[in-house]
Symmetry: C2
Subunit: 233 residues, 2 copies
DNA sequence: ACTTGTACACTTGTATACAAGTGTTAAAAA
DNA sequence: TTTTTAACACTTGTATACAAGTGTACAAGT
């Protein structure tokens, strides 16, 4: 290594995280071309580390590599999302029931703290940072998983549901008003602390499936070019 | 390309599938060293395509690349398995209930056909092809998913539960007698066709969790070097 | 005007030389 | 004998040259 001026300030793992986060946050749009040379130049490295990164992204279905043509950010698979939501509903239902059954002051305190954060952001109206809201929304659910000792499952779900994450991001970004989402979380928290698990089934179902309807009606008309249906093709 | 004698008979995708299948079928043992040069030589290609493959495998947590040291087949994460089984139990419970509710002749015919295959293999005793049994076992569950219109979810679960697959393979390989597994499937099929969904919850739970107990008692003592616990470390 | 063909500027795929870290082995020094 | 040191045979990481396919732009021919 020639000491200075040649070495890139980025290491391969950082570049991978960067690109991945860029795709998941919709900074790189579904369908967009990502060229090895362009990315390599941007990060001041050769194509070698970029190719390793591209291979990983392609393997996660975030990038589609077409030999001799180009590499493109994958479209969001609508059918994929539907199945993930079905699974998430089943899991979340069970987790939240357990949380309600073993609810204590600590859990209530954590959930209320999270809800305050959600309110603070929602109160900003259109000036709210929607990406930040996504994080806090996620945190709400994670608190429940962690409370019943399933933090690892939460992490597994996160890592494996990359398509779902882009869908959620798009859903939140297209929300004019965040308060509706906050209200749903508020309701869930109430049910957990009151232990009234009867209402929970329908509540969770609605909370997760609502997003699917919103996407169907609103986003599919605005960004049909972002989506893809593996069944209809 | 110099026409002949130089080009490898393998393409990169084939090599990837090969190595992946090798790891999942336990042909490559957990903890075993896989060197880029060795694999490259075996497939008569340079390190470049192998590195791409290794990157993908590492990203799926099937290979651990230690820079300047070597690349090793990952150990099976015990805590990971536990969480996957928890999730699988929830999903399978719901799927099988739906299957029981919408049971028809076609479903019964498919399940019985599958069970006959299981019996044929189990009757061979110790001469049975255990890897083949794994496939048929899988097929049994897939039939149920497909019947309720969730074939895509089945595929998603398959792709994402690579650790679980190694666990199942090890479980089946260590079974002296396959008939116990066949009996469990037989019972599940009966419940589906009879529509007696009350027993289903416990049945599925046992069917999936039994493997966990078997591994705890039997395999952990025979192959402790195959396993790893992310919680205790 | 239309068609055809060619050159060129892209794209990813592969092979290879070298960089740099690690661990072992064996020889040399204490 | 013990310790230290140096050489060597590995490992993966990076940069680079070239191979080969694709699409476009533009000019020549019909």
């Amino acid at each position: 290594m020639s000491s200075y001026s040649v070495a890139s300030p980025y290491n391969t793992e950082t570049i991978y995280q960067d690109l991945r986060e860029g795709i998941l946050s919709l900074k790189y749009k579904p369908g967009q071309l990502l060229s090895e040379n362009a990315i390599a130049a941007a990060y001041q490295v050769s194509r070698s580390p970029i190719r390793a990164v591209f291979s990983r992204l392609a393997n996660e279905n975030l990038l589609m590599i077409l030999p001799q043509k180009g590499s493109y950010v994958t479209l969001i698979d609508y059918d994929f999302i539907r199945e993930i939501i079905y699974m998430r509903t089943l899991v979340e239902r069970d987790i939240l029931k357990q949380a309600a059954a073993s609810c204590d002051d600590k859990l209530i305190k954590n959930l209320e703290s999270n809800l305050r954060k959600q309110h603070r952001l929602a109160d900003l109206g259109s000036r709210a940072d929607h990406e930040r809201y996504y994080q806090i929304d996620n945190e709400f659910h994670q608190i429940c998983f962690r409370h019943v000792g399933r933090d690892l499952l939460w992490q597994i779900l996160q890592e494996h549901q990359v398509h779902y994450r882009r869908f959620r991001m798009l859903d939140i970004l297209s929300q004019q008003i965040l308060s509706k989402l906050v209200d749903e979380h508020e309701l869930i928290a109430q049910v957990i602390s009151s232990g009234d698990t009867n209402k929970l089934d329908q509540l969770i179902e609605e909370h997760l499936v609502n997003g699917l309807h919103r996407i169907e009606q609103l986003v599919m008309t605005e960004h049909p070019d972002y989506f893809y249906s593996s069944n209809s093709n």
